[in-house]
């Protein structure tokens, strides 16, 4: 179920604008996913009587946690850049 490597539709004078639209929409979607999760965490913590905000500010990541976050961050970047990266991906199949 991978995406096809065929050329995507473009509507603006420059393909770059269409690619930017993709980036903005992907960013907006992930921003919403995150916003909903944070909202849920805050509400869940409230319902449990937990002082969550202060704990979040003082928390320090372990190396393992840092690596996990780096992986998640890379997925975000891959999604955000999926339109501008397509040509490159076609030239080097299997590398991305």
């Amino acid at each position: 179920m991978s995406e096809d490597a065929t050329r995507r539709q473009a509507f603006f004078e420059s393909d770059a604008v269409d690619q930017l639209v993709t980036m903005v929409l992907e960013l907006a979607a992930e921003q919403w996913v995150l916003r909903e999760r944070v909202y849920t965490i805050e509400k869940a913590a409230d319902s449990l009587g937990l002082p969550l905000s202060a704990s979040v500010e003082n928390y320090r990541f372990s190396d393992e946690e840092k690596a996990a976050l780096a992986g998640m961050r890379q997925t975000l970047i891959d999604n955000l850049m999926r339109s501008v990266n397509r040509e490159h991906r076609r030239l080097r199949p299997g590398t991305l």
Binding site: Q9, F11, L25
Partner: protein, 393 residues
Amino acid sequence: MPLELNHELKIPLDRDSSARQDFVSQLRGFILNDMAASMRNAYEESVAPAFEREHGRAPATQDEVHDAMRGNTQFKFYSSIRYNAQEMVWRSVIPCVERALPGIEATIERLSGSSGGSLHLDPNLTIPENVADLPVHLMPGGYAPSASPAAGAVYDNGLAVFSAGFMGKNLDDIGLSMSNYVKFRHPDFKPRKILDCGATVGHNAAAWAATFPDAEVHAIDVSASAVTYGHGRAESLGLRVHFKQMDATSLDYPDESFDVVFTSMFLHELAVRDIEKFMAEAHRVLRPGGMLINMELPPNQELQPYDQFYLDWDSYYNMEPYYRTYRDQDPVALLSKAGFSSADYFQFVVPQYSYMDPSDFVAAIDAPQRIDGQTGRLSASLQWFGFGAWKRP
């Protein structure tokens, strides 16, 4: 908001996937309502007047509208965002289906036959080019990549996101609206056998089975994936539907064996030559006194140039290459060529059965009907268009 599917193949969603699907669905609602209205305003207030100043007349065809709109910023943003949202529909469900696939396969296996339906696959069937070679609706991999129910699951879950809540409580509103139109408009007509062609996952065939519980309902599609998934879906709903992998242009049923042949959003997926083949087959398998009934977008001849342009957007930008060629046809001529009499032709519009009191639905189908730019459009004032013909006794 996306529809929450109500059957046992439904995928349990993690919170992030759920939030992502909610976002995409709501974005589509915004595009189809707010952005579409803004684009129409841009046409009426700016694009059409400019065309008239240059040509001394209004745009007369959808091609003239389309050409005039190409340079308009509102059209560019509408199109670019809608195109992206279409991709995002599939992107929001595919990872969920991949994770859930073993469970979906096990559920289909467990439920198979529990409600009296059946599944018949034809491994020797040649998948037509319009399905095999095209990622229709920009769905990655297309509808028939393999016999795995994955593509069917992607379609069912994707349609739930895509439809933004406009297509009924189980994506069955088209089937419910069409079957109840038949039931209430023709109370003396009691179909014993019903065939849904190009049925994909059988979401509308299931509705026919619910409306006519005593009828034997068959659902065919060229996609093994779709009918396998559809079989499990219908069984989980307690509805008896017989699914077969079959090409609607070459039906493996005897002459005069059905009372109803039904399609939904199917004809526009076919080249005109295949529509003609299908309709001839429908005429052949119908019993005298039976009906062919198709739910489709209204034909272009019924619409103003701007509305033609608006509906045919999919033909140019949503991997629907036959969409416009179908909508340019005269439905009466298509049916006549297949053997139906033009005197037995009918067409109608219906409101959405799922969202209203049945008595209001009956009143609506008896009221004077009007086809306009809203007909068939996924929007807040949606109504479905249907047409067909009776086979003369």
